[in-house]
């Protein structure tokens, strides 16, 4: 039995061409890109070319791309770097309650250090409301951080609307965690008034351990790590040259074909929703097929109320299907999902959810297989259902 991997939100399989590129660059361009000699200069040229490629994709200047080790670092740099760069007076931040742990925990840490945090509520689909953002603004607000695509439900936040609303408050920085959005959802960095945007390569078929933060020209950020002057001093540390080159290639591959890929993934998503709807035990969390513009095409979140999700995950794995419970980063905790709880879904649903996320390697047949195995699993588990009180 083939194993079907449906955990793209956690990590995507690396693109074959990107893997080759990383290996080749790793072998040939081993020199430190900051070194003065020719080999160093050549490595730096590759870094610069990667930077230019990513900048072109967002229509920003190359200097506005800061390479990091991935999404977590990008998010930490955006939040802590902002607070660290500002005078004591501006110490209020606004963060949505459904952010990824790397923003959520970061904001919690800032809270412990005396920064005031307003946690934005979401509706039952996990959407932030623009009026809640503007209502939370204060004279000392330094930062608003709202993710682009939620990593558990796929819900797309109204980034453009928030950006437009914040246009009247130039002192407030707008950070968007775009880790789940690259290659799946269009982004207009400048037009939407975004100041910082986080991304991670392994979420779009690139290598692990590399990512970037777009930082609007003129924004000061305090570095997280004391060190060298790489990345204009914002992010010292030796450049991960193979990773950066691989990321630029994966980025191009993911973004240049986005319209067709989106269409294809939405087709698969619709089919999965249709199959899931025939299994009465399962309920959908987030937007259905009728409101596709508000969701990312690559993820479906389902609850089996009254069933512990890890049981479902292990049983599906026995049937050759890999999915996760909530987000991979917090899957080992047995707490109900913070995101689903924020959506007001009740403990039964919030603690019994699985996340199915897919990508380019899947086709309709895979989805049908998934559907069958879901049904089989649910049938087997039915006798174990806890009382639904």
């Amino acid at each position: 039995m083939d194993t079907l991997y449906f955990d793209h939100c956690a990590s995507t399989p690396i693109h074959g061409r990107v893997a080759e590129t990383v290996l080749e660059v790793m072998k040939i361009h081993f020199a430190n890109a900051a070194a003065l000699h020719r080999a160093g200069a050549e490595a730096m040229k590759l870094v610069d070319r990667a930077r230019a490629g990513i900048a072109a994709g967002f229509r920003v200047k190359p200097d506005e791309v800061v390479f990091t080790s991935g999404g977590t670092e990008s998010n930490n740099l955006a939040l802590k770097g902002t607070i660290g760069s500002l005078a004591r007076s501006a110490k209020h931040v606004i963060v949505s309650s459904v952010e990824h742990a790397s923003v959520y925990r970061c904001a919690k840490q800032l809270e412990e250090q005396g920064v005031e945090v307003t946690w934005l509520p979401v509706d039952r689909y996990g959407s932030v409301r623009v009026e809640d953002v503007t209502a939370a603004l204060r004279a000392d607000t330094a930062l608003v951080s709202v993710m682009h695509v939620n990593n558990e439900t796929g819900t797309v936040q109204p980034i453009r609307e928030i950006g437009e609303a914040l246009a009247r408050y130039p002192q407030v920085r707008f950070h968007v965690d775009g880790v789940q959005a690259i290659g799946k959802v269009p982004v207009r960095f400048r037009e939407w008034g975004i100041d910082m945007y986080s991304a991670s390569a392994h979420k779009f078929q690139g290598p692990k351990g590399v990512g970037f933060l777009l930082v609007r020209e003129g924004l000061a950020l305090a570095p997280l790590l004391a060190g060298g002057s790489q990345e204009a001093g914002v992010r010292g540390g030796t450049h991960n040259v193979p990773g950066i080159v691989g990321m630029a290639q994966a980025f191009r591959l993911a973004t240049e074909s986005m319209p067709e890929r989106r269409e294809r993934m939405f087709r698969l998503r619709r089919r999965l929703l249709e199959l899931a709807s025939t299994i009465p035990e399962l309920v959908l969390n987030g937007y259905g097929a009728e409101e596709e513009e508000k969701t990312s095409p690559h993820v479906v979140n389902l609850s089996y109320p009254g069933m512990r999700p890890e049981v479902l995950v292990h049983m599906l794995e026995k049937h050759g299907v890999l999915v996760s419970t909530q987000s991979a980063c917090s899957s080992k905790s047995l707490q109900p999902s913070r995101v689903l709880s924020s959506m007001g879904l009740g403990e039964d649903r919030a603690s019994g959810s699985i996340r199915i996320s897919f990508g380019d390697e899947h086709d309709e047949r895979d989805i049908d297989t998934l559907g069958e195995r879901l049904r089989m699993t649910v049938d087997k588990l039915k006798p174990l259902e806890r009382s639904r009180g």
């Binding site: 080749e24 000699h37 020719r38 200069a41 050549e42 080159v245 290639q249």
Partner: protein, 406 residues
Amino acid sequence: MKEDWILVRFGELTIKGRNRGRFEDMLVRQVKQALAAYPALKYTKTFGRLYIQLNGEPYEPAAERLKDVFGIVSFSRVIRCGHDLQDIRETALQAIRQVEPAPKTFKMTVRRAWKAYPHDSQEMNHLVGAHVLRNTPDLKVDVRNPDTELKVDIQPEGTYVYASVEQAAGGFPLGMNGKAMLLLSGGIDSPVAGWMAMRKGLEIEAVHFHSYPFTSEQAKEKVVTLAQRLAYYGGSIKLHLVPFTELQTKLAQTGQEHLIITLMRRSMLKIAEKLAAKRGALAIVTGDSLGQVASQTLGSMNVIGRDTSLPLLRPLVMMDKLEIIRIAEKLRTYETSILPYEDCCTLFVPKSPATNPNLGIVLKIESQLGAELERLVDEAVNGTETVVLTENSRSDAPAAAEDKWF
């Protein structure tokens, strides 16, 4: 039927007598090359003007590109419509609404080149102008000092309407005035001098003196990047990389520390002159600016330029540093120029360079070096490596692998 056009006005070359046709063709070719990224454009040349039909291509980026084509004085976004009065009125309204920021005052000018048109220019001024006024609440007429001149040009084939004029680079089409060698260092001034020379219709080949291995690969890369910026204005550019180390070392050994810069500059001109002869260039362009450094005092310039028979063109000679920097920023060469890599001169800069070198002594030192100096000059010329750069080209061999990786 309404069509989007760009009306391009040629500059000084319209006064160039019987060569004019040739120069205009040259410019049209250069415009087409600059706008090659927009294949749907259609070009129509008339007396002293060029009409470009957009055919669905975007105006903004094409306009941005046009601003940097030498020989174009100005251009306008033009809407072409038919002869129907109502049609012309609506088009005029559309044209004035495209102007940003919205003008507060305007002046109406109708030109009736097609004399068979039923209304004369005066009537038309009124007929069209009144319509625009009625439909644009905050707009007033001001014939003396209007924010915008709304122009309607009635030609037999159709009517051209436009309300804005964009200034372009001016000057002459590239190459119209022949070819010159540009001494390109890694500094701020020489790329600006190159751009000014190109704007005056000179085709430029760049000459760079390097002291490899005393200077780094990055220093060379920096010059390549600068030359590529110039290639944006010229389509492509040749860069001659002259090995200068041996000559420089020899000059240093003469023990005339305070004259070393003078001696080096003279050798550079000798080499550039020989390269010019090979390349069919009739002048040498430098980024000298009077009084800026020791080698740019009047006394230094006199001694340095003495035995060169080619015209030495120094477009920046009377400019202030700040003016030069402003242009360098506009050309986007500034950020590259200020990168801190050593160039061929930094190694040998004396503590107190002569600001008023003695020509007699300089000539004496050179004659003592005699045949040796000549041999080193020839060696430098023969060892010169030439690369052809386009705006996007890169200079190094791993390029093929790189392309595959991105």
